[in-house]
Point group: C2
DNA sequence: AACGGGGGTGAGCAAGCGCTTAGCCGCCTT
DNA sequence: AAGGCGGCTAAGCGCTTGCTCACCCCCGTT
């Protein structure tokens, strides 16, 4: 199935140590993305990481902790991308285009992580869940502020700012669900296409 | 949690008989939408339907058959909505607006069914899976044909027809994920908003 | 009154689950 | 050479899972 020369996951999680813990995270991301959290067994994760089922519990207390680690890091990464775009000077259209482009590119490039981050958060424990929801609220706030800036300056024409914010984020996020690395489009191309589509959504007539 | 006077699921599945089978489907839709297919137990479904765990197997051979029934009916319903819009005369803009409006409204109104239909199809058995994927291909073809019509007639200006088709469908589908019946917006309002956003996406400059 | 059969139940089976425990192995320190 | 320890494993515990089976109840027909 995996014919890529450069596996993005290997470098994406390179700051996790020790080596065995990183292998477990990568294995968990792949398994969760493929089959979902609940359909994935700890034996499967350990097997993919090349160790016995018991070894998992040396590095992570529970299976849920693995999901939390993935979800937390993933949300922080994507939030950082949005913040970077929002603070990057230029017109509101420039900033919105940059935000959509890099957010979409991330969800395509790391679509396995993205799938876990976006579609498995219901499996988190209550306290982890509320923590992650807070990160999501911040992402929404960043995106909304860019759109609000554009409306205020007259660069954008938007009837329902919070509804449009929701739609834009939803559009970008869902890329993680359908993106196929064996498909026709590269993450860059999809980012470009989506930036164009979103800018059309907010453009004055 | 449920304070609605008219439960949409009750009427949505009214053509399923006998009564016990319908109660099981409705219970399964709710449980699958809330927690996902794999996290839902047959005991939970039977309990919600007001019967013993064994009674489920009188009406459905396996838990997967229940999912297949839901997925199949749901896909046929949403495909029918798209076809109706595509065949409903008027300008391409009219047809695209109608398609998006009714497709989105359906995914909001029946967001529990929509969630199962759109996000749990990986849990289907291989042969059921390919059957459902075929239905999805047809939905995509219908949406694409509307957009192609508009491009041909000059009503729409779209660089990448198949990419835009994918984006539009993705945008509509994802409504089922985030829609909250206790939220500010009604299904009709979201349908209206989304129809406007999509028409902006394809509008010539 | 006897019957037949579809819809239902209580109990439980085999398998698989998340997770634990007792102990081993190799390496760094002394 | 001895000891301590982090990383790992084989085995398995207690529990839940999807699903089955023997049996029962109710009701329309004869």
């Amino acid at each position: 199935m995996d014919v890529e020369a450069t596996e993005p996951n290997t470098e994406a999680w390179s700051d996790i140590t020790p080596d065995a813990a990183r292998r477990l995270v990568i294995a968990a991301v792949e398994a969760f993305a493929e089959r979902g959290y609940h359909a994935t067994t700890t034996r499967d994760i350990a097997g993919r990481a090349g160790m016995s089922p018991a070894a998992l519990y040396i590095h992570y207390k529970t299976k849920e902790q693995l999901l939390y680690q993935i979800s937390s890091v993933g949300h922080q990464r994507s939030l950082a991308l949005l913040r970077q775009a929002a603070e990057s000077g230029g017109t509101p259209a420039d900033r919105l285009g940059t935000a959509v482009r890099s957010f979409v590119r991330w969800h395509a490039e790391y679509h396995t992580t993205g799938r876990v981050v976006q579609y498995e958060l219901g499996a988190l424990g209550p306290e982890h869940h509320t923590e992650i929801v807070e990160l999501r609220r911040r992402s929404e706030a960043v995106m909304r502020s860019i759109i609000e800036d554009g409306v205020r300056s007259g660069d954008f024409d938007v009837l329902d700012v919070s509804g449009t914010t929701l739609a834009v984020l939803s559009l970008c996020i869902d890329v993680a669900r359908w993106f196929n690395p064996a498909g026709r489009r590269t993450p860059d191309e999809i980012g470009e296409l989506y930036a164009d589509l979103v800018l059309r959504m907010v453009r004055p007539v």
